[in-house]
Symmetry: C2
Subunit: 222 residues, 2 copies
């Protein structure tokens, strides 16, 4: 249960919905794949032949520096789509953060997205734009934010993407958070502890955060 990449291989069909976009929903079908935590879905340099939709669990995409340090680009929660890249090979790698199920939509042959049908192109275009916007915000945070600003923005982002507005369930480790925010694990831990001491948040367990004073977090950034 802890090592092999299970491939259910059950050919299913699912709506490729992307609720954060205004574009029409597109239905794609493809095999359902299961991955377990820390397992590679695709690696940098792999041929980019599928797009993926997260059904359950969480996925991260990341890049590596030569010295082994890692920058996480994004976390994908159930409903999110990832695996999109402009070139025939992946520039990012994708890994399961927790046990997860994804649907893979395999591109036919070596065609690129821009050779797909028109409706698809428009849909993917919107998606790419949304990614771009997110990436730019990430740049702003990485380039100019203090540790507290980064953590605050991260907590608010996770809260907005989750169900409850003040209860954040962190599916990823402190190391993942650190690599997403360009910090070290110790700084992440210390900053969270400090916020708890200040009464801004509560940490009932390591993976659960309660936003006690959302306003304070919001004020840190804008």
């Amino acid at each position: 249960m802890s090592t092999s990449v299970a491939n259910a291989a059950r050919s299913g069909s699912a709506g490729f919905s992307m609720p954060w976009l205004e574009s029409a929903e597109i239905t794609l079908s493809g095999p359902v794949l299961n991955f377990v935590a820390e397992r590679r879905i695709f690696a940098e340099g792999d041929e980019a032949r599928s797009y993926y939709k997260v059904i359950s669990g969480v996925v991260r995409t990341c890049q590596f520096l030569s010295d082994g340090r890692r920058q996480i680009d994004a976390f994908y929660l159930p409903g999110d789509v990832f695996g999109f890249e402009p070139r025939p090979t992946h520039r990012l790698s994708a890994e399961a953060v927790s046990n997860c199920t994804v649907i893979a939509y395999r591109r036919r042959g070596p065609d690129t997205i821009s050779a797909g049908d028109d409706r698809m192109v428009r849909h993917f275009f919107s998606y790419a734009m949304a990614c771009l916007e997110q990436s730019r915000l990430h740049c702003l945070l990485l380039g100019r934010g203090s540790a507290a600003q980064k953590i605050a923005a991260f907590l608010l982002e996770m809260a907005d993407r989750g169900d409850a507005p003040t209860i954040v369930d962190l599916p990823m480790s402190r190391q993942d958070v650190a690599d997403y925010l360009g910090l070290t694990i110790e700084t992440v831990s210390r900053t969270l502890s400090q916020m708890e001491r200040d009464g801004t948040i509560a940490l009932p367990t390591t993976r659960k955060v309660i936003l006690r004073q959302r306003r304070v977090l919001e004020d840190l950034n804008a």
Copy 2:
């Protein structure tokens, strides 16, 4: 000569070439506009009604933090296209770094890009993907790079985009470089000075850099 935004208003025609893309060239026509250094082309929140191609000079796009700190997203050199955004209003602002001429292609009415013709959509899709890739690399640099790594990557990027492989003309100020790399002006200056002392680069003037040992710069990152 130093304040007004001259608008030549001469309706011209020019190839919208994007040499870093493999997609077909698209010809657009629009008014030719001239901007002088430090002048706003569009601001965050402005209605996004045009795309722009740089004819001469350099443009920067940037975001601001509430405390006034700035993150420069990209520099656009002659031939580059910018001004593209997913939403009806700009999330970035664009300013002339030096005196520059841009061609504006005005979108007709309130239509979005995805309502344009198909060829255009494919073209813009490729462009958006290229932007995304660049933004992700920028994130890696901002999140995980040391000052020296950032400066080295920047110099190599500028060298690759310029004409001569070892002579880099910097059209922007040290402050601009700092805001692009998430550093302070002093750190940029010190790092460049140190590289000159090490014999890695030469600085004949403040705006000109000669790469004496390209290899050393390359080794800093990957």
